[in-house]
Point group: C2
Chain length 418, copies 2
């Protein structure tokens, strides 16, 4: 098999399908989503059988239990994928919205209309549910998708994509709208990242090293999310009860995700009162505390933090803690050490709150709320493809609207430029 030629052909066919897909109405796309959901449920046994082969091979090759669990598809998990597709149905279709319209002195009328991006390439790691989630989001937003999943889940992803394609065929929709690269050859990733003639956008979903590699290699624009090093800053005028509740939620409610707090900053004026309360609560949940010298002077049981701690996304029950002298020091520290994802201030002082919101350069900035809210569902955008820490195109949750672009439709009556 000539891998680059094969990948190029898949992308070319996806582009052809995307031009049909871009002009389908919401009802038609929703019918396909419902059909996909129904077929996934009907084909549960076939999907489980393919998945069992992936799991057996992965176990033989020594995959650890946590990853094996992520790889495994059960009836419940397949039903959850189907439910995810059905949840897309009632969401507002972003395509076709008129974003602006004006008639110019020259006589032309310009209409700025939301349209799909076209073809989206998704490169992802072991979790096979991405195959279904990504295909559903792309379809609903009028985009064709080229999927390149992880080798460990190859048989599972292949089975899932065949079911999705069967649903497309059943609905007399172009089957090429969902392409799955049927090869485990790594050359396919490079070929996909260079198919700029056909692919409009690449979205990597996986660990930091995958995302870096994709961003480094791709000639196509990438919607990327590196890490989530999120801060909470307890300012001098913080309400202590809110500080304790928000910090606990941000660190403990789900520590393994990108919007969990990794670093706590505390104003030196409030630290002697605030830290004992916050630490007591966090220790109840077994959080390991690593602190600066001033923090350790207040609480010698805290482990010393190293320079690396301020730039680490733990994704675990570990928290680094630093005492700062002022709001400005907190803001500078966050802009320097954070990942521009989500950062919060706890304060009753409106001036400081406004200053923090203005000067912290992150996708989501919070006052008296947990950073855990940075999420498409919590933001009211419905399902999401991920959280963008880029500033171009999409920032924060990438939902249906963020998977679109616009075009200018211009109407004249023989208008010429002077």
């Amino acid at each position: 098999m000539n891998i680059p030629a094969y990948v190029n052909d898949c992308c070319r066919r996806a582009q052809h399908a995307s031009r049909i897909l871009a002009n389908q109405c919401a009802d038609t796309k929703n019918d396909v989503l419902k059909s996909m959901a129904a077929m996934l449920e009907a084909e549960t046994e076939l999907i489980e059988a393919a998945n069992a082969e992936d799991v057996a091979v992965a176990r033989d090759e020594g995959m650890d239990d946590a990853l094996l669990d992520r790889l495994t598809l059960t009836g419940t998990r397949i039903a959850a994928m189907a439910k995810g597709l059905r949840e897309l149905v009632p969401l507002h279709d972003p395509v076709g919205a008129v974003l602006a319209q004006r008639t110019r002195p020259s006589g032309i009328t310009i209409t700025k209309v939301r349209v799909p991006l076209g073809v989206i390439g998704i490169i992802y790691e072991a979790r096979p549910n991405v195959t279904v989630d990504a295909a559903g989001l792309c379809l609903k937003s009028g985009n064709a998708v080229v999927l390149r999943g992880g080798t460990e889940a190859y048989r599972s992803n292949l089975a899932l994509s065949r079911v999705l394609q069967a649903a497309l065929a059943h609905c007399k929709f172009p089957v090429d709208a969902v392409q799955f690269l049927e090869t485990t050859d790594r050359a396919a990733v490079d070929a996909l990242l260079h198919a700029e003639q056909y692919v409009d956008c690449i979205i990597p979903r996986g660990g930091k090293s995958l995302v870096y590699k994709v961003a480094e290699t791709s000639r196509i624009p990438v919607l990327k999310h590196y890490d989530g090093i999120c801060h909470t800053y307890i300012a001098k005028d913080a309400d202590l009860a809110k500080a304790v509740a928000v910090c606990y939620n941000a660190k403990v409610q789900r520590p393994g995700v990108c919007n969990a707090m990794e670093t706590l900053l505390v104003d030196e004026h409030i630290a002697p009162k605030a830290l004992p309360l916050v630490f007591a609560k966090l220790r109840e949940a077994g959080v390991e505390l690593r602190g600066c010298d001033k923090t350790r002077a207040l609480d010698p049981a805290v482990v010393p933090a190293t320079e690396a701690d301020w730039r680490t996304e733990y994704l675990a029950l570990i928290l680094s803690v630093k005492i700062v002298r002022s709001l400005d020091e907190a803001i500078a520290f966050i802009n320097e050490h954070g990942s521009h994802h989500s950062d919060a201030i706890i304060t009753e002082n409106h001036y400081e709150a406004a200053h923090f919101l203005q000067y912290v350069d992150s996708a989501a900035v919070y006052v008296n709320a947990s950073t855990r809210f940075t999420d498409g569902g919590e933001f009211g955008m419905g399902a999401e493809m991920g959280i963008s820490t880029s500033k171009l195109h999409a920032r924060g949750p990438v939902g249906l609207e963020e998977l679109t672009t616009y075009k200018y439709m211009v109407r004249g009556d023989g208008a010429i430029r002077q």
Copy 2:
């Protein structure tokens, strides 16, 4: 001089300035623009002297007359730059606009606010006016800018940037908001393209090879514009007078720019009537015609077009002409051979017009109007940085709004995620 260290330091200082600049009100920024304009006029002699050295060196090195003319700064041209800055003053400041606001069931209030991108790197070729135009647009939209101009204009650009910085200092604005890389070493370009810690967006302004190199090398998102291969399609129900006027305007009014027509498509049903009229008018202006076999059968004086003609941006009084059988063939041809910039249909048939607008995958699609209108000024956006043929972030004219992003400001009262 350690070039990467020097460039990194310029970018770092630009980022620091950008955080101050992002929070300035429109009046303050407008005062700086006015001061820059006044100082450019006051320092005309100094700028002309620096430019004269560039021109003398370029002439010695054999630069051709057209390029020498582009490089040369006169009092009139310097006054035009100052005028360009003053024209930015009345334009609406995009920063701070509330794009959406909602209160969620969780109790948080989410406000999506327009903010500057941060630091924009501009890499450009010989024309020194870009130094002033780009700095003005970036400043008005609240961004810091790092400028890397062409070697031929080095002394001119240096003089211009020093004047701009003097105006910043005069207004007590951070001088680091406008950085000019004071080196002609090519290593500086690579260093700028890899300064992803400090630079949010790269905009190349120049020929296709420059843009390709930048897109290939940069780790930072690039707002790019390759070429403008624009089509006009005379459909079977076209009004012939409009067809002649629009084609003439699109090809002849200013042939050297990206929104000029390069290829004319004509429906076979109307070609025998339309082409003689269109060709007669174009020949008055000295346009060279290159056509397909069917075109040549109608008019043997037309030169044969080669395959390369359909993919060439002439930027000159040359036009390739092809007769097609249907609207669908025209659309497929444009999507395949065009550059997704600007394409027009001439028709009185509303169904065909709507179909063309929907299915042609270009930044600007026109009915009965000249493609020459694709321009920030003509679109009512004011000045522009260029025309984007990318789909992500900005498509079509890149004006002040397109130089911004957004952030989510979230307010709670101790809100935690369930």
